[in-house]
Amino acid sequence: MKQTGENYEEISTEDLKRLSKQAEKEAAPSAGRIIWNEFKADRPALIALVIVVAFILFVVIASLFINTSKMMETNILDYFDAPFKDGFLLGADAGGRSIAQQLIVGSRNSIGIALGLTVISSTFGIAWGLISGYFGGFVDWGMQRVYDFMMMLPMTMMIIVIVTIINNYNAVTLTLIFSCFYWLGTSRLIRSRTLAESKKDYVAASITSGTNPWKIIFREVMPNISSLIIVDTTLSFAENIGVETGLSYLGFGLPAQTPSLGTLIANANDPNNITEYWWTWFPAALEIIILCLAISYIGQVARRAADSSQRKSNK
């Protein structure tokens, strides 16, 4: 037995590389490939993906060419210009400001905040849930009491109060304020899966192999719940677009001179605008509906890719 074992030491590095490549070809498809196959099998979701990606790219690039401060100047002569009048593609609002331009810059702001919020709150929530669920015992107890306390706070009111107290805030600080409150749901979800996952034998095997707890949490357990993470993050992105929009609509979001989807929809507060000047709020509302719908389609594909029994693609 030992002799045959020693034969392997005569394998050259090239052989090793060749064998590695060969073996790698036969390896199971990666998560990325599975998701892509799933997109190909679901046409509406593929269209949704194209819409979302193209729209975000368009908004980001186009807003680079727009001079925001000039755009936000009041021009009384263009008061409620209808679409296609005076070169306003989507008309103008009460201040004679271009709706189309506001829509582009506003979308960039809103999506940027939603994206930042998703990244920060999901990262924090995932880490919180993983650590709490894996260690259990007193650590879990303590972390869950912090969670309970945060859960108890009236979220929207707290944000409004903080925004009112702080005088100088911009998109970045607003994102951070939101992030303080929006990691909660994610953390509970991740914790529950971690509790189940960390009881499995492969974690015990890693412990007996002498791997340290942090490595087990982030390199062993986390990849195994990655499907859940992807689904949750995608869906919470759609939700987070609504967070900033809703608050700006109430007048507590971004400052007045910074356009966002919420401030555009806030135009609908005026009954006149609803009936006569529909172009001031309608495009923004439509955009939110399409965007959230598209993202939730994408989320469903991610969900299906995560659960092999739901998959539509045969591969």
Partner: protein, 322 residues
Amino acid sequence: MSLIEINNLKVHYPIRSGFFNRVTDSVKAVDGISFNIEKGQTYGLVGESGSGKSTTGKSVVGLEKVTSGSILYNGVDITSEKNRKKLNYNRDVQMIFQDSLSSLNPRKRIEDIIAEPLRNFEHLSKNEEKMRVLRLLDIVGLSVDALYQYPHQFSGGQRQRIGIARAVATNPKLIVADEPVSALDLSVQAQVLNFMKKIQREFGITYLFISHDLGVVRHMCNNIAIMNKGRLVEVGSRDDIYNHPLHIYTKRLLAAIPQIDVDHREEHREKRLQIEKIYQEQSSKYYDQNGLAYPLVKVSSMHSVALPPQEAKKYSEKEVEV
């Protein structure tokens, strides 16, 4: 000195209830067991499900928190985590799990799985490590292709052998095998068991073999301990247990081994029913008022049985006479 000495090991889980979530009771998974494992031998731990044998095994590798008692490894108590760290304990003591699929991380390639203990305990260069993994794969009879494959691409027997390759990677002294073959079909069982015996001869590994399959235990083990409801009911050599069982629980377990002997089918059935009858009649005698086994009494130098007090007296008197 024995390789492992277990003294009065207890693992209790608290049951919390009531308004203040106080500890009202405890589940006595393992309730005061003692035995020694000698170097190079295979020690069998047998019992029905829920008897605490897996918990004992997990305590030995350090996965379970021990309530009281000690486990001495070469004279050092390894129930404390500090001692385990100091000794690099898991380099010497590894575990083979029952469920081969769940014991392998589905997101990791076989190379990473087998190399995991090597990376933690032996700091090898990349090439050396790969060579070691290849040699381990060769020892367990898998080809090089396995290196980059994932656990779900293998059959049950192959996966169990991967688990074994991981367990033997650091050349451990003791391997706790927790029902390593109970999830496999018979032909594969034999293959894995013979393979475990072979590496035992080659590397001088000691096994703590946990199983409920008495046929398998007979094939593998030199010494056997029978466990029931968290306590040991009978400890002895293979011959003691299989040919001279004294405790009614052991007799009942042995009667449960299926026999392939069609001509005497009725006789076997009769015998089994008789043993079951005796068990039903005498179980109150062999267990105390809480339904637990009595303390072990030495019957011969190797053989100990949890006999009821009256019978235990006979043996202790005999010992005095001798």
